[in-house]
């Protein structure tokens, strides 16, 4: 059996929709761990290494990583309709829920109790993204060049509020030139 070439995985649109629907609905504060659980642990569609390979590609590409993952995995196992099934499965229910929350907020947001609660929630959400940013930035401390590039991006967008596209057109090639120089050295 082991000498036979591995059969490429084929899945139905329905199965894809179901898996990503489950991951989207259960994923609070980041869906990636939930997608991993559904695809690697529960359904065994991918090995851990294959999943990491997908993540590596999605982080290379622009856009929401999990949406890219749904598109790429969906197309590999079921073609274009697989991409659409996975993407709508991932986003359908969360979009409906977030719009219901927004509707309730529009209706009751003026109530003092709700206002206080949302003020606290905002501070909490800001604290969470601060923790995420620090987790991403901490490993850079081993490289002065990486810290300098990160500081430049932070200053351009966070402090001086420069336009995004022109800033990236300067910072990204600079960072890649430095990375190329370092990888060659």
């Amino acid at each position: 059996m082991e000498s036979l070439p591995a059969q490429p995985l084929r899945l139905s649109s329905f199965a894809l929709f179901g898996a990503f629907f489950q991951a989207g609905l259960m994923g609070f504060g980041g869906v990636l761990p939930m997608i991993r659980r559904v695809m690697v642990e529960d359904r065994k569609w991918l090995t851990s290494a294959e999943f990491n390979e997908h993540i590596s590609l999605c982080q290379f590409l622009p856009g929401a990583n999990v949406a890219n993952l749904a598109v790429i995995f969906g197309s590999r196992v079921c073609g274009p309709q697989g991409s659409i099934a996975a993407l709508t499965g991932l986003l359908g229910a969360p979009i409906a829920i977030v719009l219901v929350i927004a509707g309730l907020y529009a209706r009751y947001g003026e109530l003092t109790l709700v206002r206080h609660m949302v003020t606290g929630l905002s501070a909490g959400a800001a604290g969470l993204i601060l923790a995420t940013a620090l987790k991403i930035a901490m490993p850079l401390r081993h490289s002065v060049l990486n810290m300098a590039v990160a500081a430049l991006a932070f200053a351009a967008l966070g402090i001086f509020r420069l336009p995004f596209l022109p800033s990236l057109c300067v910072i990204v090639p600079l960072s890649m030139a430095l990375a190329g120089w370092r990888l060659r050295a």
Binding site: G29, F60, P94, G120, L121, L157, G158, F164, A179
Partner: protein
């Protein structure tokens, strides 16, 4: 109608520029919808971001709520699709080419070059959201406590959001 067109253009551009994930574009989103278009206040921006965090699903759903704030349900749909489709179309194409360039040197250089830029943009996003959310010292302390708690414990993020909402309810009168 002009609002919908403006939403589509703003978020479609950011879709291609969202390196390392959707959150790196938050400084650019805040700049566009708060300071250039004047569609909402900075406080409203961070409130909508927080409401999206309280719902299940990807972090990018904040985009849906920014669109909703500007033009209701049509705005939500336009902003979401504009932010999704360009990057997803690119992902669809690149997904098929990945095996060809995965082991190339330039791929490693590009990826290594994006890491510090992503980190700097995330810190900028965090700085701006904390500044917008910190309407007074209590909110600032709360944000700092949540960040410390999240960094030094294994608790689920939703747990901290719930506590922060509760703290707002009892502490912000």
């Amino acid at each position: 109608m002009t609002h919908l067109l403006a939403l589509a253009l703003i978020f479609a551009e950011l879709s291609f520029l969202a390196i390392g994930g959707a959150s790196t574009t938050l400084p650019a989103m805040e700049r566009a919808v708060v300071h250039q278009q004047h569609w909402m206040s900075a406080q409203e921006f961070v409130r909508l971001y927080a409401l999206a965090q309280a719902a299940p699903g990807p972090n990018m759903l904040a985009v849906t709520l920014f669109g909703w704030e500007v033009s209701g349900i049509p705005g939500a749909i336009v902003a979401t699709l504009a932010f999704l489709l360009p990057a997803c179309a690119l992902a669809y194409v690149m997904g098929h080419l990945w095996l060809r360039f995965r082991d190339r040197q330039w791929r490693k250089v590009v990826q290594a070059g994006l890491v510090p830029v992503t980190a700097g943009l995330m810190v900028a996003a965090a700085y701006l959201l904390v500044r917008d959310a910190a309407t007074d010292w209590r909110a600032l302390v709360l944000a700092a406590l949540v960040a410390v708690g999240c960094l030094f414990t294994k608790r689920h993020p939703l747990w901290f959001l719930g506590l922060a909402a509760l703290a707002g309810l009892v502490g912000f009168r």
